[in-house]
């Protein structure tokens, strides 16, 4: 079984450790993982900004790059949702691609969804001493039904306990370009999330989307909270919770 890892443009640029953590999780679940080197972005920024043409060009690129994979796994509910829930509409003008689009939509999984529902892993390599609180990112939650999966996996991490916040499903205010077009509103929405995160009194906030991570962490730090760590669920599950070192160590090893 060949699994194609779609790293996502944000992980590529900002935090490669999430990519390596995903690789480790998939490999330790027994899959052969392919990482197409030409990959860039799923097209979502264009799609949500109304630039349909640009989004279509990138969607076709993803289609071609991952054609040989049995599964496509994405460490992001947002990009996973883009491929699964939106590609069919985005590429509806190209009937010749219909079969291909439907196939990729069917075979694409958000990472934790894949590990739980396809790979059915019963253990994960990570360990973590402390408590975490999990934020349900909007696209993952409402487009892909990602809710129980990350929690089920976190429960398998040695030493980890979960402390739920009051409203884990409330949007963090990121919204892609919304965060820079309406920064003030975006930050105010993030404030409510920060308060909820802080009142959960966990050692780390864990979530499955880098965009929301940047937003919540950015607001937490500006509010003066330097303590709570903000980690991607893949990093925690793989036991790679130092983003800089882990990426370097991985390549050195």
């Amino acid at each position: 079984m060949k699994v194609g890892l779609f790293v996502t443009c944000l992980v590529d640029l900002m935090r490669p450790s999430i990519g390596f953590a995903s690789l480790k999780l998939l490999e330790s679940a027994g899959y052969e993982v392919i990482v197409p080197v030409e990959q860039t972005c799923c097209g979502q920024p264009g799609y949500n900004s109304g630039d349909r043409k640009a989004a279509q060009a990138l969607a076709k690129k993803v289609l071609a790059e991952f054609a040989r994979c049995d599964y496509i796994v994405v460490p992001s509910g947002s990009c996973g949702g883009m491929i699964r829930a939106h590609y069919p509409e985005l590429l509806a003008e190209f009937p010749e691609l219909k079969a291909q689009v439907e196939a990729i939509a069917r075979r694409t999984y958000e990472l934790t969804d894949f590990l739980v529902n396809v790979a059915r892993v019963d253990s994960v390599p990570g360990q973590f001493s402390g408590s975490v609180t999990y934020h349900d990112s909007c696209s993952g939650l409402r487009e892909l039904n990602i809710k129980a999966q990350p929690r089920a996996l976190l429960a398998k991490v040695a030493g980890l306990s979960v402390k739920e916040m009051q409203q884990p499903e409330q949007c963090c205010g990121f919204g892609g370009t919304f965060a820079v077009k309406y920064g003030e509103i975006s930050s105010r929405i993030a404030d409510l999330k920060c308060e909820d995160v802080q009142s959960a009194q966990a050692d780390a906030l864990v979530l499955g989307d880098l965009g929301c991570m940047l937003n919540i962490e950015g607001r937490l730090r500006r509010r003066g909270d330097k303590n709570i760590r903000v980690l991607h669920v893949a990093e925690v599950l793989a036991g790679m919770t130092d983003p800089v070192q882990d990426a370097d160590r991985r390549t050195a090893g």
Partner: protein, 472 residues
């Protein structure tokens, strides 16, 4: 109503800085969201009912022409006088003409959002008529000289204290501090107006094709008094409100009140089928219904037609993270929140409401709660596409998207540029690994947030190394 949607950002900023509005919004959010979530538990097949409701609305929209004719036939047979208005201006003119014909001086109104669209109160007052809002929330708003900030709770942005001060000032009575007492006082003030008004104006939640009735859903009883007490009644409503049968209405009602206020059923459901008949205890001597287009049929023929399914419950705004923080006024027209972000550009012109379809995180909380399953984020995205097609986006954004798309389809260039960005970002982030200030569009981010720095090398570089090592 005047359209000020293009001042969205400034208006939102003002609301974010207003502690009274913030307090009122937090209070309302807690109540309405919790009430809805509890009451939908009473329905064990809630999702199926939503599907059925969407189908009923779609059927009504698809067969609008036939159903409206059927409705008209039944309505006329019952003695209703039916008018058809294409524009908001025509609506106001028709109402004024009816008022003139009947030598009306005083009008009582029950809530009508369509009346807000056409700026009806202003037109009537200019024509020398005395107009009184009788819905408590609308009454409060009228006394403040403001516009509603929510479609079912027009005064939701006001606190109890705001209202207590207002009543003391306007009613010239001692200041009251208790909600029940305030409500009682408003009733006392309004009662004589109900008794001596010559004309009543209401909207309609639905038009029932099989009976030729108009129907309103209210909680205070003012709607029933408005439709039955004055000698002339005028109901104004949009073409999209048509529903085939009473059976359909009963299904829609199960969702409407639960989604709106969390009630299993509203206190009043009033159906009006023609004027007072011989032997009836009450009812208007003449009953007029004005059926209004005002942009609806254009929406019907467009790619955002699903927006016309809306039954005006308000759930999408109650659950919207943007609305929850800024309230309704910043949206700048009659309908706020997610549905307003679609209807406003559709009804007043896409160029007059550039921000609205963009001012959403697309979190889809609205789509999840909408009782008639309107895919609100998808429709906002459609409007964003129309803005791009019509060249309505600012040039830096257009340029930015162009550059992004160009590089993202050229992996070598992309890899090179992101490699530089990753290093630069890491260097700038320093030991803290945080960027406090970004240039250009990023400055809007860093005005209120830090930006976590990239870790220094891109995944693609590191992976290439990693693979080389692995295969050696």
């Amino acid at each position: 109503m005047q359209v000020s949607s293009n001042q969205f950002k400034q208006a939102a900023s003002v609301k974010l800085a207003d502690p009274n509005v913030q307090k009122a919004l937090r209070n309302a959010k807690g109540k309405l969201v919790v009430a809805r979530s509890r009451s939908i538990l009473e329905l064990d097949n809630f999702e199926e009912i939503r599907d059925a409701a969407a189908r009923i609305r779609d059927f009504g929209l698809l067969h609008m022409d036939v159903l409206l004719e059927e409705w008209e036939k039944k309505a006329v047979a019952a003695g209703t006088i039916v008018h058809w208005a294409e524009t908001p201006q025509q609506v106001n003119d028709m109402v004024i003409e009816i008022a003139r014909k009947h030598e009306v001086r005083k009008i009582i109104k029950s809530k009508s959002m369509l009346g807000e669209e056409t700026n009806l109160n202003h037109a009537l007052e200019t024509a020398g008529l005395d107009v009184r809002e009788t819905d408590l929330g609308e009454y409060i708003i009228q006394q403040f000289g403001e516009t509603p900030s929510h479609i079912i709770a027009p005064a939701v942005h006001k606190s109890k204290d705001d209202i207590a001060d207002l009543f003391a000032l306007k009613h010239g009575r001692p200041r009251l501090d208790d909600i029940a007492a305030l409500t009682h006082e408003a009733r006392e003030i309004l009662r004589p107006h109900f008794l001596d008004a010559d004309m009543g104006i209401s909207g309609a939640n639905f038009l029932v094709a099989e009976t030729g009735s108009t129907m309103i859903v209210t909680n205070e009883g003012n709607g029933r008094m408005t439709t039955t007490m004055p000698r002339v009644h005028v109901a104004i409503t949009g073409v999209e409100k048509i529903v085939p049968t009473l059976e359909d209405i009963s299904l829609l009602l199960r969702l409407l009140t639960r989604s709106a206020t969390g009630q299993s059923i509203s206190n009043y459901l009033s159906f009006t089928t023609g004027p007072k008949r011989p032997g009836d205890k009450d009812g208007p001597g003449e009953f007029h219904v004005i059926i209004v287009d005002a942009g609806r049929t254009t929406v019907l023929a467009s790619e955002i037609r699903e927006a016309l399914r809306c039954i005006r419950c308000g759930a999408c705004m109650n659950h919207c993270p943007v609305y929850q923080n800024i309230g309704g006024h910043a949206y700048g027209w009659v309908y706020p929140g997610p549905i307003g972000s679609i209807l406003t550009p559709a009804y007043v012109g896409i160029e007059k409401a550039i921000d609205l379809p963009n001012a959403s995180t697309l979190c889809n909380q609205c789509g999840v709660v909408c009782p008639v399953k309107i895919p609100l984020p998808d429709l906002m995205r459609k409007l964003r596409e129309q803005q791009v097609q019509k060249n309505l986006r600012p040039w830096p954004e257009r340029l930015g998207l162009r550059l992004w798309a160009w590089t993202a389809t050229r992996p070598a260039v992309y890899g090179f540029l992101t490699g530089i960005a990753a290093r630069l970002g890491k260097w700038l982030g320093g030991r803290e690994r945080l960027l406090h200030r970004l240039p250009a569009a990023g400055s809007e981010w860093t005005a209120s947030r830090d930006f976590p720095a990239p870790s220094g090398k891109t995944f693609r570089e590191l992976y290439a190394k990693h693979r080389n090592k692995g295969t050696r």
